[in-house]
Amino acid sequence: MIPELGHFALILAAMLAIAQSILPLWGAQRGDTRLMGSAAPLAVAGFIAITISFAALIWAYVTNDMTVVNVVANSHSAKPMLFKVTGVWGNHEGSLILWVAVLAGCSAAVAAFGAALPSALQARVQAVMGMILLGFLAFIIFTSNPFERIWPPPPDGQGLNPLLQDIGLAIHPPLLYVGYVGYAVTFAFAVAALIEGRVDAAWGRWVRPWSLAAWAFLTMGISIGSWWAYYELGWGGYWFWDPVENASLLPWLAGTALLHSAIVVEKREALKIWTVLLALMAFTLSLLGAFLVRSGVLNSVHSFASDPARGLFILGLLGIYVTGAFALFAWRAPSMAPAGVFAPISREGGIVLNNLLLCSITAVVLVGTLYPLFLDLLTGQMISVGPPFFNAATAPLALPLVMGMAVGPMLAWKRANLWPVLQRLWWVACMALLAFILTLTFAGWHVLSALGFACAFWLICGAAADIADRAGVGRTSLRNALNRARHLPRAAWGAAIAHAGMGVTILGVAGMGLAVEKLVAVPPGGSTQFAGYEWRLEGVRDFIGPNFTARKATITVLRDGRVVHVMEPSKRYFPTGRMTTTEASIRTSVAGDLYAVLGEERANEAGVNEAVLRLHNNPLAPWIWIGAGIMALGAAFSLSDRRIRIAAPARRRKDAEAEASA
């Protein structure tokens, strides 16, 4: 009964989406207030319907309803409850329900928080979101329906890939989807603006919080995915430029450019065409990612079970939305009035440079990911494009970007003098140089890592320099400056925190460049020296888990004879999936990670039982993900700044006060 309710709610939502696509748009074209006003209620109603549908699916999973095909294929009664729930979105159909649920949620949020939006804009935005919702709901209902039934019900489900029974992998999709779908909102805003034929400062002000929110979630989603790969897959790496990883990175890159571009539109009414194009691109790249992962054209360990027929449907959706939007862009963009003029050296100029470099990196990653596919299609040659290419091609673009990140926020709007800004940054440059030299001296001749450390310090100290400059350090007394710093607009703090967060991530990446590894076979009771510690294998024993059996090794880590850590890597065997996974044991500290993986056990030539251990020392590894968290925190700070969320004129007085005291 409940699955039928869910199914019905889904179809109801599709009907509402049809109404949402047509009525408000018609109303906006005709100026009919009532029709335009129908947008918000429709959006909220659609959200309620999809929530009911999603809840019904979760219910089916939680109650082990084996009459639902989706539950049979992806769940098992022996799974822990947490993973039953998170398993709802661990498959193709369920993840699409999550997608439309988030989309409907964003639509409802635009309705709820956009009370101050001009009604025509609200109506058009909701109409576009309705169209996107309709497309995906149609895709679900006609090709990927999770509510299909099976009778008689099989005794139990076929379980889920044990790799997916993991908290990191469980929260990674929802965060990513909020990011991808958040860009649907900016897409809708861009299309609405193109239909209207007007992009102005008010539009910029509406787009900025949405692009910030989407960016924050996408950052968290990508970083948790990378962290999961690090601790789960057991090879000590965290990014392989795998096509599916790239598919999530592409909207992030475009979204970062969008974020900065929207600021310029809001403040200076310049870069309109570029911002609209970026808003269109960010969502296009999200959709492209969804297509690549689900269609089967990609060669990747991440792909969902693929089906070319479904791929055709998604391609069709992509075709409608993307070509429609770009055609609209080609028609309307030339008529958008460029307003603000600015000198090349200025804050706007810095953001233009930022856009240029980010878009170039996006192009490189896009071409690198798709090139093997198209080359195979056109010529039949199969090549691989892997980390050596991506690292070599993006590094020369990333370096000037990082250098600009510290300089840009300190430039004035419209026209700035570069030299005074550089003078204010001299101590930052010294810190970076010092980091470079110290790394080379103490860690050996690792030039790339040294460069990474230099970049990290450049960014972190640069962010500090930015805050210090705004607070007036050096121009007034320290107490005055501290007071001013406390009252700086949150958006300024947000930007500095986010840039510093990027620096922290680069610090972690540079540290990982110095990682060392040792592969050794050790008998129980034996020990080995690594990374300044003595690693003693106490023994390997059997272990039973909720739905697996395991061999668990106990390793005591000693320094100078004192026990410092006990690590327990294991290998788990899942009878339902007939899979074996390795669980690495990671000991995290401020300085880095100690990482131990248990390999095979066998008898050596003397007949003694040995266990193969792979030990890693990953300096500064946790900072990679902490840095991403800091970036999201910066975005949250910016979002909490009332100025950018509310367009009330009263803000001008508050601003004036803040600036007067600055």
Binding site: M281, V297, L312, L315, T323, A333, S335, A337, L373, L377
Partner: protein, 197 residues
């Protein structure tokens, strides 16, 4: 309301720039459509790895025989001066798809096509047991226990099957178990074509 004096010095060039995203998207869309069609009919396979040795002779090697089978050993010199095409099959007793494709190899042998085998990373008695149980289509059989010769051939898993012409040039390679469709659509026509000349 701000008006715009239309375009700058070269209006046509300006238009080109705004049509660029549309053009790129349309071209990419066409490409993806072609890929999906190719996936459905089998002409596009993103997971298949083409052999680097197509059109070339096999690498120099000399493998020992499987004594218990009584079959002669296999070496690269054997490929010269053959009267017709030769099928070379890499297999192992621990490989389930090898069992599945075995009847097709037996069928080829009954047809009179020379089927030569390379036993990959296997134990002698397991290999012999496999042949005894499932039949022995091989006229020659080499044993590659360390797997080095297979690496020279560019083998990356078992089973893999190669077809060489009478001059000893590799003409076709398939990684995976032979299916009836493959026999009908690829193998049989190719053998007919290579035998004809």
């Amino acid at each position: 309301m701000s008006e715009v004096a239309k375009a700058g010095p070269k209006p046509s060039r300006r238009k080109l720039l705004v049509y660029a995203p549309l053009g790129v998207a349309a071209a990419a869309g066409l490409g993806f459509w072609a890929m999906l069609r190719g996936l459905q009919d089998g002409s596009f396979n993103p997971r298949g790895v083409p052999s680097a040795l197509l059109g070339k002779p096999p690498p120099d090697f000399a493998l020992p025989a499987l004594e218990s089978s009584g079959l002669p050993a296999l070496a690269s010199t054997d490929f010269r001066g053959m009267p017709g095409p030769v099928v070379v099959n890499f297999w192992a007793s621990w490989c389930p798809p090898c069992i599945i494709e075995h009847p097709h190899l037996m069928a080829l042998q009954r047809q009179g096509v020379p089927v030569w085998g390379v036993n990959y990373k296997d134990r002698a008695r397991d290999a012999q047991a496999f042949l005894t149980r499932h039949g022995n289509p091989y006229a020659r059989l080499g044993v590659d226990k360390p797997g080095r010769v297979a690496i020279d051939w560019g083998v990356y898993g078992v089973p893999e099957t190669y077809i060489l012409d009478r001059n000893g040039i590799i003409r076709w390679r398939f990684a995976g178990a032979i299916t009836p469709e493959l026999m009908a659509q690829d193998i049989q026509p190719l053998i007919r074509r290579l035998s004809a000349r």
